[in-house]
Amino acid sequence: MIPRPRPERFRLRRTMMFMNAQKPGLIKDAYIYGCDSIMLDLEDAVAENQKDAARFSLYHALKTIDYGDTEVIVRINGLDTPHWQEDIRVCVAGGADGIRIAKCESAQDVLTVEQAVETAEEEFAVEKGRTLLMAALESPKGILNAYEICSASERMFGVAISGGDFRKCMQTTPQRGGVDMLAARGQMLLAARAAGIQCFDTVFTDLDDEEGFQAEVLQNKAMGFDGKSLINPRQIRFVHQVFAPTEKEIIQAEKILLAYREQSAAGVGVFTVDGKMIDIAFIPGAKRTIQLAKACGMYEEGAL
């Protein structure tokens, strides 16, 4: 039994790597590639007649494998299937950090899952509120209800779009430049930011199209996503590279935080750094930059 610390609702989640929970060879050490979160999949990757087997594998993986600092999230089956309740029981019993709600379309879906999670936390004597939630939006309805979904629960840490199903609903296919999902991505980002939770982009499935993948990641970063779902460890490095702050950003953030420390101690709320006016609104961004820089190994011996 590997004791895991209480999950952090807002932590670094640049990369979430999908892994079939039914494949022992894959899940035993997916963390070695250095992704921020592992997404153990009970849904699409698992054949209908192996859902039961996948749960047994998942339970023992969660209980036995030391995932270290890597976050462990489980994608459960949709609420329209006979599997989701048992999926939640095994996630909570095994001590997963979070649950990804597939095909989420409303705040009620989140609340339904939350209720089941709470019941399971009670059943398995897990600290109430420990298990985090995120929602996958896979339909136009989900996107249109994004804000109510994002703000439905204190357990919600993020929202992600799932491109495969969404594009089918929209009668489109992946396009260079991302015009197929431009509106949906934008709407979801707005909702997530308004609700104060994180926002993640969908997987890029064509492993042979390195150029297309890189263009999409750059766009994700430019749009303001917190991270991306991945299907192969080979994709991790580039995402981390893109989401890493620049040297200039790190220096600027460090100056802001140091100045803030000094000035707030003196009771000053607004001050200037390098001639630029800074107030408290800059602080979370600067902190995020330093946290990112630390995760990227770019800020080891700094002053903070």
Binding site: P24, T64, A93
Partner: protein
């Protein structure tokens, strides 16, 4: 648990194990083959028997074809096969109880 009908769980892929349980009447009759028999045969056998004991299975023919599975995988496959044989693998599993 009582083994009611034959059931299988797991695959023959590397790092996995295929476990078959069948009704029996003479205690646990275990047939084990493994790609790592010489170094881990004893431990695999012990894990399988312990898991069966926890599930309170006392009569069964059990066939394990191991392809280098870790203990956590072996347990998962044995448990799944046993619950399948009782038609009870789909829900209300005693996580943390008999399954642990």
């Amino acid at each position: 648990m009582e083994i009611l009908k034959p059931a299988v769980a797991g695959t023959l892929e590397s790092s996995d194990a295929q476990v078959t349980v069948e009704p029996g009447s003479q205690g646990i009759e275990l047939a084990l083959t493994s790609s790592v028999m010489n170094q881990y045969g004893r431990q695999i056998k012990a894990t399988v028997l312990e898991t069966l004991k926890r599930l309170d299975v006392s009569n069964a023919k059990v066939t394990v074809i191991d392809k280098g599975a870790l203990d956590c995988t072996l347990k998962a496959r044995v448990e799944c096969a046993v619950f399948r044989s009782c038609g009870a693998s789909g829900g209300n599993i005693p996580w943390g109880g008999a399954v642990r």
